[in-house]
């Protein structure tokens, strides 16, 4: 009867499927398998591509070989969703038997992936996900977690100092309304106000806002500057609309407001705007110049910090594997060795603090239209105007004092001078 046939067919298919899945060969133990989790589709796909390109550039430089062992990179699409990132991480660990995984872009992904590393005892290297607390108050929960990128507040604390040194007294903060925005503004505000400045207004446009029309007219006219934290498509529109409204005072930006993933698509109204980050493609050192030229020749665009961070991460893993002559030392030993590294990266010198976050130079950079590195056209570059060397995630506060205060949030530091 048809129904019996259907039933048998269904059963057979299910069995075949299951057997095929279960019969995957166990991975060879000699090679180093690294999982790479980034958004490859969806609105953040370009970020994922930049991250992947940076990683691949290093892999090609060393012919896919770290310290004598062959390296296999397995790329998985997280679609920038924490659920999916976790599923992919588990797939990498359970099916592909990776020794470590790199990646995650959003804070929510970072917070989702870190527990997976603890549960499965697999190293998780975060090259981009910047949520402060992962290497601060939460670190104890994640013994297999190490960060090679930055914390959200790390570059913005020195920027607060720089703003104070410029003589700004009152600043308006306009930042995307989510955790990353809160942490960036928090870091800036803390240092700026401790130095004597005042944040007189905090505006939080929803993430993805492109029409700043409602917010710009509310700017207090007696402020000295605007501090903006824009992400994704927001940075393209904000400076344009602010300038068109007649605001002539300076705009200072958070790291993502003018970084190289958006700068090439901006226009001249961004010229003169200052921001801070641990990387600028316009950093004029021989190491960076070589990196930028090679990257641009290969991928047709100037590298952003997304690319640099993953390039450097690959380099760091390579350095550890060279120490162990290509043998995988186990997750704990790997992390211990990585923490001792002192790296000369395209972004400059990088080492690690005892909370497994990088200590690195922070660059205060200004957007200028100029020729750089021998390219023959005038283009927008982030030209470095000041360097704060060896900045940790705690700035000058000292680890214990810093950890006693709550994590930067929408309400911390409180806006005492608002209104």
């Amino acid at each position: 009867m048809t129904s019996k046939i259907e039933r048998r067919a269904g059963l057979l298919t299910a069995v075949c499927f299951a057997v095929a899945m279960g019969a995957m060969p166990a991975a060879a133990q000699e090679e180093l398998r690294i999982g790479f989790i980034a958004p490859m589709t969806g609105p953040f796909a370009q970020v994922g591509k930049d991250m992947n390109d940076g990683l691949n550039m290093y892999m090609e430089e060393v012919n896919g070989n770290f310290g004598g062992t062959k390296v296999k990179i397995i790329v998985e699409d997280s679609q920038a969703k924490p659920d999916t990132a976790v599923t992919k991480a588990k797939k990498l660990i359970l099916e592909d038997h990776v020794q470590m995984f790199i990646g995650g872009v959003l804070a929510s992904e970072g917070y989702a992936l870190a527990p997976v590393s603890t549960a499965e005892k697999t190293v998780y290297v975060s090259s981009i996900a910047a949520a402060d607390d992962l290497t601060q108050r939460q670190l104890g929960n994640y013994p297999y977690f190490i960060r090679t990128g930055w914390t959200s507040s790390q570059p913005h604390q020195p920027l607060g100092q720089w703003a104070c040194d410029q003589g700004y007294k009152k600043i308006i903060a306009v930042a995307a309304d989510y955790a990353f925005g809160y942490e960036v503004v928090g870091g800036f505000q803390k240092v700026f106000e401790d130095c004597g400045g005042k944040i007189v207004q905090k505006i939080w446009p929803p993430l993805g806002t492109k029409d700043f029309g409602p917010y710009i007219p509310t700017f207090k006219s007696d402020a000295d500057a605007v501090f903006s934290l824009m992400v994704g498509p927001m940075p393209l529109q904000f400076p344009k609309q602010v300038r068109a409204s007649g605001w002539t005072k300076p705009i200072i930006g958070g790291g993502t407001s003018y970084d190289e993933s958006v700068l090439p698509f901006m226009s001249d109204e961004a010229i003169g705007d200052v921001s801070a980050l641990q990387y600028s493609a316009g950093l004029q050192t021989p190491r960076n110049e070589a990196f930028v030229k090679a990257y641009r020749a290969k991928y047709g665009k100037v590298p952003s910090y997304f690319s640099e961070s993953n390039y450097t991460t690959a380099m760091m893993i390579d350095m550890v594997m060279k120490q162990t002559k290509g043998a995988w030392p186990g997750p704990e030993a790997f992390i211990a060795k990585m923490l001792t590294l002192k790296v000369d990266a395209p972004r400059g010198p990088v080492s690690f603090d005892d909370m497994r976050n990088p200590i690195q130079d922070i660059y205060i950079k200004k957007v200028e239209k100029t020729k750089m590195f021998g390219y023959d056209k005038d283009e927008l570059w982030n030209v470095v105007i000041k360097t704060y060397p060896a900045v940790s995630q705690f700035w000058t506060y000292g680890k214990d004092a810093f950890l006693k205060q709550p994590v930067y949030s929408r309400d911390f530091p409180p806006c005492k001078n608002c209104e």
């Binding site: 969806g42 207090k220 344009k240 007649g246 993933s261 958006v262 994590v407 209104e419």
Partner: protein, 323 residues
């Protein structure tokens, strides 16, 4: 040991103390020079901003409203048409350097895509609104991936000719010329559509089809031809919105699904199938969104959806809809 959720110990619920009251706002605004003038300027600028945003929304919403009016389809790939308009315009600008040329080329190209979609995919389904809606969703996903593959995921900006990027100063108010341009385009399109609808034979046929498709067929009107025309027109308008909006919102992946709920808010508030309703709906959404965010930033996420839900709850066909 379970940790505190998200490690955020803040107390910021939708707290009342951070809601700027009218008094606080007046005080803020008057801290500058000239108290009443600044107050008036603030309201004028916000109204202007709201109207210009509404102008863009009219372009997007009018097409959607017409499509629903004639075909009873909720076109969930409308946002994709908007985005594709922006992307095609970019390609034209990169190839020829002409922004002026990009506008009609992009709009017509997307209209053609809409035409194909209607004829080849929607028509065979017959009159089955739910399946048609779901089909448009499937296409929205396909368009999104195709756009990513063709144009990459970089965030782009459309640069209009320099003359449009100026700001004119009128009575102390800085009015960006581009916003004025957007209002101008919306007025022109709105007027043209109205003239066609009210004064031409074609317009009469369309109105007849919207009012009662069966009757229209009975009178000998080729409703399937009208459907095709309207769908293409809807796509045309959406793409036009995308090109014009591209200089204002940018062109980047994800914009399609961001525009969609807003377009629907316009159509719902204004009433489906009504062009005048779309205009009023666009104006209301533009102004409400603008003023809502400026005055009550705490509830930014609800300034769009809460009114929409309430209007629908009270009058399910929208403010000006008819059913």
């Amino acid at each position: 040991m379970a940790r505190a959720a998200g490690a955020k110990i803040s107390r910021d619920t939708l707290s009342i103390q951070s809601l700027p009251t009218w008094a606080k706002l007046k005080a803020k605004a008057s801290r500058g020079k000239g108290t009443e003038a600044v107050d008036a300027r603030f309201w004028l600028i916000q109204a202007f901003n709201g109207i210009s945003y509404g102008a863009l929304l009219f372009l997007v919403g009018s097409g959607l409203s017409l499509i629903f009016g004639v075909m009873r389809i909720v076109n969930l790939s409308h946002g994709s048409y908007f985005l594709l308009g922006g992307y095609v315009a970019l390609s034209v600008i990169w190839a020829t350097g002409s922004w002026l040329l990009a506008i009609p080329v992009a709009a017509v190209t997307v209209a053609l895509i809409g035409l194909v979609m209607e004829r080849v995919f929607l028509r065979p389904l017959g009159f089955d609104p739910l399946r048609q809606v779901l089909l448009t969703v499937g296409f929205a996903f396909l368009f999104q991936q195709a756009a990513l593959d063709i144009w990459t995921g970089n965030p782009f900006d459309i640069n209009p000719p320099a003359v449009l990027t100026q700001t004119i100063v009128v009575g102390g108010l800085h009015l960006p010329l581009y916003r004025i341009f957007m209002i101008g385009v919306a007025l022109f399109i709105g007027l043209t559509l109205w003239l066609v609808m009210e004064k031409t034979r074609l317009g009469a046929t369309i109105r007849a089809t919207v009012d009662d498709a069966q009757m229209a067929r009975g009178v000998g009107i080729d409703t399937s031809y009208i459907s095709m025309l309207i769908f293409a027109l809807g796509a045309f308008l959406a793409a036009l919105g995308g090109v014009i909006g591209g200089a204002f919102l940018g062109v980047y992946p994800g914009l399609d699904f961001e525009m969609l709920p807003i377009a629907f808010a316009v159509v719902i508030i204004g009433g489906m199938g009504s062009l005048g309703g779309a205009a009023i709906g666009a104006l209301i959404v533009g102004l409400a969104d603008n003023f809502g965010k400026a005055l009550f930033p705490e509830i930014s996420y609800f300034t769009l959806y809460a009114p929409m839900a309430l209007i629908l709850a009270v009058k399910p066909t929208g403010l000006f809809g008819r059913e």
